[in-house]
């Protein structure tokens, strides 16, 4: 099955992780629509600048780059679509999770204690209708686009309101936007890291219709019985396309044009408790048989410095060897080393623990637990649970011993079915582990660890070696939710229909 996507119709943020195209800065805006008519006109104006998924050539005929200085994308909550007055018959086609929104799903997501919506940024107490993102090659490009959007808000004459209430670097709690940025190293060079020091965003899923599949699919598509990798079905990530269940996603509203080439986005502001993480890592590495970096790698499944998968570099000595091979490899060889692996050679989790972030969010074929041909396909339990991850870090760490600075990740997950994909992974695989035969042991980094009853994880030793496994106990809550919601990212056709007030499911 080959699939050609209409890239002029799909919003660019679905296909492109802008960070990979030198868009180092981002700004996220949230708006409320107070008047349907004016709101639709505003959406129409923004749509003229919405960035599509059309590939950027390196240079055009005149030799200038066709990569824009700034991109713009737009998405809506269910309340937002209601405010824009799409017909009730269309509203009815949206799924329960999206209709409810994220804060009402807190019990499903485990957003409790410090992650409870009561502790979120003030903006989430507002009626959030619209999300607009600006990604820029420079902060000036972001600001310029932001000013243009402000003009459009102005022009709506009270029909659209920019909401305030984001926390910022200087202790503000009433900012009108959320800024995000790549992190820079000591020499000022951009890095793919987040505030705990991990290299992020390596293994995003690859699906039918994307380009350059052969080079990208290794370790990122779906694992087949013969050990090869195939791209996932388009419908796992885009509505109106066939999914892994050989049908069109059930989460699509009608009419078809409203849903087609659109998808759902989970926006989450995740605060990182940097001080606690550093203390915990130091304290635990004191009782761990290996370096501090090796322990950090055991938490994530990748080494912090370069993202080396721990399944191929399970200890300090093998990491040194891996680094040498990596340094000698060409670009495609490097990419392969980062993504092309399974856990079949590590079915007991001796190298990459079952609790490691990477293994929990994408178990590859490992949920067959080494039972030969247990399922019809090795990815049977995995292929319907994948998410595209977008987003950037926000804030900066001014004091690495403290938690209360402004630092974390703006996490955005894109999928065709929030409940089946994002919520399932968050609930069953991050905050619980029956599928991994680890009971209630939560994933170390993202789990909603309970300060009153902290959990633990077990790092397996070689079975039959007589050596004890390693226990990591008293795990604190390292990441806290600070806000977020569920959004629908329409296609550009659908945006024009919404803006024109011509959505009609009849």
């Amino acid at each position: 099955m080959t699939q050609k996507l209409d890239l002029t119709d799909i919003q660019g943020n679905i296909i492109k992780a802008y960070g990979r195209y030198n868009f180092q800065k981002a700004r996220y805006l949230f708006l409320r629509i107070d008047d349907g008519d004016k709101g639709r006109k505003f959406v129409g104006a923004i749509t003229t600048k919405v960035t599509s998924a059309v590939p950027w050539g390196k240079q055009d005929a005149e030799g200038t780059s066709t990569v824009p200085q700034a991109t713009t994308n737009i998405a809506f909550t269910f309340d937002g679509l209601q405010a824009l007055e799409i017909p009730t018959a269309s509203q009815k086609g949206f799924p329960e999770d999206f209709i409810m929104g994220m804060s009402k799903r807190k019990d499903i997501l485990g957003d409790d204690g410090p992650s409870d919506p009561a502790n979120w940024d003030k903006i989430w107490k507002e009626k959030v209708h619209v999300w607009i993102s600006i990604n820029g090659q420079s902060i000036d490009a972001v600001k310029k686009r932001y000013e243009w959007i402000q003009e459009q808000i102005e022009a709506s004459k009270g029909g659209v309101v920019l909401l305030t209430g984001h926390r910022g670097d200087k202790g503000e709690d009433n900012l009108p936007y959320q800024d995000a940025s790549v992190l820079y190293d000591a020499t000022g060079m951009p890095t793919p890291k987040e505030h705990f020091g991990y290299t992020d965003g390596i293994g995003d899923p690859v699906f039918e219709g994307q380009t350059n599949l052969a080079a990208r699919v290794l370790g990122r598509g779906k694992l087949m019985r013969d050990g090869t990798w195939q791209p996932l079905a388009t419908g796992e990530f885009l509505l109106g396309h066939v999914d892994e269940a050989m049908e069109y996603p059930k989460t699509a509203p009608s009419p078809w044009l409203l849903a087609h080439n659109g998808t759902y986005m989970v926006y989450r502001k995740l605060h990182e408790n940097v001080g606690t993480f550093n203390r915990f890592l130091d304290e635990q590495s004191g009782i761990f048989n290996g370096s501090k970096e090796m322990l950090a790698a055991k938490f994530a499944g990748r080494w912090r410095d370069n993202g080396a998968p721990i399944v191929h570099a399970p200890d300090d000595a093998s990491k040194t060897e891996w680094d040498k091979r990596y340094a000698a490899a060409d670009e495609s060889g490097k990419r392969k080393m980062l993504t092309d692996f399974t856990y079949n050679e590590d079915i007991h989790g001796t190298k990459c623990p079952y609790s490691a972030h990477l293994r929990r969010i994408n178990p590859r074929g490992s949920l067959e637990f080494g039972v030969k041909d247990a399922y019809d396909t090795p990815g049977a339990l995995v292929n319907r649970r994948r998410i595209l991850r977008r987003g950037l870090p926000y804030g900066e760490v001014k004091d690495a011993t403290r938690d209360d600075g402004n630092h974390g990740i703006i996490f955005m997950a894109l999928n065709a079915d929030i409940q089946r994909q994002f919520e399932f992974v968050q609930q069953q695989w991050i905050n619980y582990a029956n599928d991994f035969k680890e009971g209630n042991d939560k994933e170390v980094l993202l789990g909603n660890h309970d300060a009153n009853d902290p959990g633990k994880v077990v790092f397996s030793a070689e079975p039959g070696s007589g050596k004890p496994p390693h226990f990591v106990s008293n795990i604190p809550r390292l990441v806290e939710t600070r806000g977020g919601d569920y959004f629908f990212i329409p296609s550009i056709t659908a945006l024009k229909m919404i803006a024109g007030g011509i959505v009609d499911p009849t």
């Binding site: 892994e244 269940a245 399922y375 396909t377």
Partner: protein, 213 residues
């Protein structure tokens, strides 16, 4: 009424099967039981606590009492009874993609069975023929079957360890203890309350237990 109790979801599905075809299903069950490899997918799916298929002949449908009149039935029926972790909506994908051919084999001769892929007709077929659970008691609401299996294994190993190693010298005891930990390393998962898999089921539970919102 809820199909959920603790970590278990109860599923009772009763589907009609032409009486003259029922023997084929009985044969399939027999072959599956005598040839465990046909069930390895089902067994490896550790989210399943329990699963059982039974054929009820059309002239032998259970009655509460001999005085209850016999029903005139056109079909025999296949009863599927299972307990599993999570909820049907959550895990239908896992069942369908892990063991589609197994499901198709067991239901193939049932009236109007649609096949397990595509998923929606299969999901609807099961839901349509499902008998919701009016009363559901779970003695160990925090336990999934993996937890029970692990607990049994740990108990047995500890009793054994105590018998063999309790009186050994410290160094030997220590070696034995480490070996014990190694043997049990995949059975130490914490056992705590279930994540909330359904907001409506959780609301029912809270009202029943009179837990304030």
């Amino acid at each position: 009424m809820s199909n959920i109790a603790g970590k278990a979801y109860a599923m009772n599905v009763i589907t009609p099967i032409r009486w003259y075809m029922a023997w084929i299903n009985k044969l399939i069950f027999k072959i599956a039981l005598s040839n465990p490899s046909t069930l390895k997918g089902l067994i490896t799916l550790s989210l399943i606590h329990y699963a059982r298929w039974v054929i009820i002949p059309r002239d032998n449908f259970p009655r509460l009492d001999p005085s209850q009149p016999k029903e005139e039935l056109n079909y025999s029926y296949m009863l599927f009874f299972s307990n599993f972790n999570g909820s049907w909506d959550q895990y239908v994908d896992s069942f369908t993609f892990a063991i589609p051919s197994g499901l198709d084999l067991f239901w193939k001769w049932n009236v109007r069975y649609p096949k397990s892929v595509p998923l929606t007709p299969f999901h609807d077929y099961i839901r349509h023929n499902q008998i919701d659970t009016a009363h559901y008691y779970n003695a160990y609401p925090m336990a999934a079957s993996n937890d029970v299996k692990s607990a049994q294994k740990i108990k047995k190993a500890l009793i054994n360890f105590n018998a063999i190693s309790a009186d050994k010298a410290p160094e030997e005891f220590f070696d034995d203890y480490n070996k014990l930990l190694n043997d049990l390393q995949h059975h130490f998962g914490d056992m705590k309350p279930t994540p909330i898999v359904s907001l409506s089921a959780d609301a029912v539970r809270k009202r029943y237990l009179q837990i304030p919102e």
